[in-house]
């Protein structure tokens, strides 16, 4: 067996037992083994290669006497107090580590023909355990996804030869990106946008409330404009002045729905009734109507059906919306149509909402998402036209704000119905526990980065395509940029290390065939 170097055939120990759900092996005490590492349990005669993921590591010793270890530790401590040295003789024989693994499955056969099976049996007695090598990972190629996000990870080790991503074929089945703050959600989104700009196989709408995607936001960070394909495959819409080639955001009052308003404020039942009544009569003109008419006029127009107080509240709120600099009555200057067209061309559309208030941001997000969804569902009736559009993915930060309930609003609706209409959601959140379980279960692909909160992890464990409950401790201990991907096509929760976007860009710049377009891109 070859010597050392991570990712080669290093013998780590031998299996001692347990069952189909859990395999334990005795490991050399001096070989580093880390939580989350993927190892191979090689059956006698090479019949099967079991893929094992480390879920726990414990001390073991050959001493048969109970309490041997604490007693020995006591002797050491006693020695420390007296500056006495102690030496454990035959330590490699007497001391070892117990490594507990979750079997992920096993491989039958070799090379490209290797077949993956779920773990319905156990390895042979005393099977040798070693680190997995490229040869073992080869079977994964068919599961790794074409939208590359990073590399396979085994515990702390990154395996650059095995790229990991998500499958563009399933992005309309929605995805969720979850991590505690600072663990790398935004970086992941930039990396994903980069992959989509490279491939042009999907339309990606990024709704950026923090204004961090254009140029990275901070010193040392890069943004989407720095991508070599930005010149052709990126379009930017803004709510503030930026030093980039970008268009201002305008949505029209006719694109705003009663539902959108309900997402922004709490309304009493009579107020909701009023809103619906105005909608029934005025349709797309409902908001203009509320703005153009005073309380008394409306009161009369609806036969004094509604209390003047209600009319006052609804009217004032309508005025707040209408007074937003991003809202216009002139349907012709709305940018929603343009955005949908860009998405249909397989472009990345970045909507920087950092210049908007939170209400405006949610309003614009809803209007844009609805525009995409409605246009795609309209095209659905025209087979040829529908076939020609790429899948569209709408990425939304702080997604817990719109997914607290499974009903109400355009986002839950897209979560339920979007997949049929090539409209996928990418929900980004640091608090998945606030997202309705039913909504989460609609997210077929989950990218889970480090999550410190137990309730957050539990919420996801209940919905993931693969069983991740055994990985709870691993998820808790993930470092920035480390994560797990579960999806309809992954054989098990795939561990990955997301590329740092800046490193990814540097790597692209090194590629000989790069076409630099950014020179004619405004200030960049």
């Amino acid at each position: 067996m070859a010597k050392d170097e991570i990712g080669t055939d290093v013998s780590l120990g031998r299996i001692t037992g347990r069952d189909v759900t859990e395999i334990v092996f005795r490991a050399y005490r001096n070989r580093d083994i880390f939580l989350g590492e993927m190892l191979i349990g090689e059956c006698a005669e090479g019949r099967r290669r079991f893929i094992l993921r480390v879920i726990n590591i414990m001390h073991g010793s050959e001493a048969s006497e109970a309490g041997w270890a604490p007693k020995t530790a006591g002797a050491f401590m006693d020695g420390d107090a007296r500056e006495e040295e102690y030496h454990v003789y035959d330590a490699d024989r007497r001391l070892y580590n117990h490594v507990v693994c979750a079997p992920l499955g096993y491989l039958l056969g070799e090379g490209d023909d290797a077949e993956f099976r779920s773990p319905k049996t156990i390895p042979t007695h005393f099977s040798r355990v070693r680190r997995a090598s490229d040869r073992d990972y080869r079977f994964l190629e068919r599961y790794l996804g074409d939208v590359k996000l990073g590399s396979l990870r085994s515990g702390e080790h990154v395996i650059p030869s095995v790229p990991v991503g998500i499958d563009s074929g399933v992005i309309c089945q929605h995805m969720g990106v979850f991590a505690t703050t600072g663990m790398g959600k935004s970086n992941l989104m930039k990396r994903m946008a980069g992959a989509i700009m490279e491939s042009g196989k999907a339309g990606l709408l990024i709704l950026d409330p923090h204004g961090e995607y254009i140029d990275g936001g901070k010193d040392g960070l890069k943004g989407l404009v720095h991508h070599p394909k930005a010149g052709t495959n990126l379009d930017i819409f803004v709510t503030r002045e930026v030093a980039a080639n970008a268009s201002d955001i305008r949505i029209s009052t006719s694109e705003i729905k009663v539902q959108d308003m309900q997402n922004l404020w709490q309304f009493s039942d009579p107020q909701v009734e009023l809103l619906n009544a105005v909608w029934s009569r005025e349709r797309d003109g409902w908001l203009d109507y509320l703005m153009d008419n005073d309380t008394q006029t409306i009161f009369q127009a609806f036969n004094e059906q509604f209390h003047e107080g209600s009319i006052g509240v609804v009217g004032r709120r309508a005025a707040v919306l209408a007074s937003s600099p991003f809202v216009t009555r002139d349907g012709r200057i709305s940018i929603t149509k343009t955005i949908v067209e860009k998405l249909h061309q397989g472009k990345v559309v970045l909507v920087d909402l950092s210049g908007a208030s939170e209400r405006e941001e949610l309003l614009i997000s809803s209007v844009l998402a609805r525009a995409v969804f409605q246009e795609n569902s309209r095209l659905f009736r025209d087979k040829a036209a529908f076939k020609s559009i790429p899948p569209c993915l709408i990425a939304l930060e702080e997604a817990q704000r719109v997914f607290e309930r499974a009903q109400g609003g355009i986002f839950p609706q897209i979560a339920r119905e979007g997949r049929k209409f090539k409209t996928g959601l990418c929900a980004i959140s640091q608090q998945p526990k606030l997202i309705d379980t039913e909504v989460i279960s609609q997210f077929n692909t989950l990218v889970i980065l480090g999550l410190a909160d137990r309730q957050d992890r539990e919420r996801l464990a209940g919905s993931a395509r693969q069983d991740i409950s055994r990985l709870d401790y691993e998820i808790q201990t993930l470092m920035t940029g480390e994560g797990l991907v579960t999806g309809p096509n992954t054989p098990f929760a795939l561990p990955l290390k997301v590329d740092l976007y800046e490193t990814y860009l540097a790597g692209m710049a090194g590629k000989p065939e790069r076409k630099r377009k950014s020179a004619d891109k405004g200030f960049f």
Binding site: A63, W68, K71, T72, A73, A75, F76, D78, G79, R82, E84, E85, Y86, H87, V88, Y89, D90
Partner: protein, 338 residues
Amino acid sequence: MMRGLNAAEIGNVIDQMAADRDGAKPIASDPGFIDVGGTVDPKGFCPFDRAGECAMTAVDGGSAVLLDGGSFLIAAVRVGSASYRDREYLAHSEPEFHLLHLSAGDLEDAYSIFFGKTVGGEPPDSPRGLDEAAGRIRTLLEWKAVENVVRDAEPGTITAFDGALWAGIRGIGPMLSRIVESARKKDVELCGISKRSMLTQHSRPLIPAVQIAGDGALPDRAWHYPLQISGYGEKLFGEVHVAKFHPQSRYVFRADLSLPDGTPPATALGKLAYHANDPAYVGYPYPLARVHNDVAFSRSEVEDLRSLLRSEALRKGMDPKEWQLTFQDFHDVLDKGR
């Protein structure tokens, strides 16, 4: 296969068993305590320091009665050694393993074969009983192993074994002289360490009395206490000490030393002390613990051997029922002789 066992031996002992089925002779033993008299002198304790890096080889034997048929028994004896240079284990040869078939009828013959192979010549007496025979054979093999280790040892290596440096079996004096002489010539310190001792003082166990006095006289030190013993007569081949090998040790041991000319006891004991600081065996030279564990028979080994013997007997035509009736009280002998 089991450490050191030659599979053919299973067949041999079964053949012997089949060949003779005889009556048993009574078993007797004479542990014999030796009383040192006098009192423990608090001024007699000598502190000593731990030596620096040094080599040590330890020898020990283990035995187990596998089957007791009343008039005969089948026992296993295993003798081995463990060598350490500084604190690293050195590769070593396989332990020596014997399966013994001992029956009242041919006890003398069996014993004299082993005596001849180890001491040389004819034994002056024979063991009284099967258990004693097994015990003596183990002792002979242990001495033979010590002799071999001394022969192969590098100068300056301390060679230790489990027991005392005295001729506990009639007729082995010449062999012990031989060993002691060769060790002295090779500049090898020879040391027997006894976990239990037959020494008494006014009919009370001596070692605990010495330990209490020593811990009072030299707390937090390693010490040794030389004993003057006359009771052994010609049979003693070294000087006897009670020694504490580690300041924090909870145990003290009888140490029988035979040293090269000019080597003070503290030098040899210091080397043992160097090896007596494994945190799990504080105060006991670790190589002795290792070799003890290597040669001792575990319960599962005893059971495996028993079943190997049984299958071989049945294969050779023995009726399972006869086997069962012959050894039916074998639960009583589980672990006997360990």
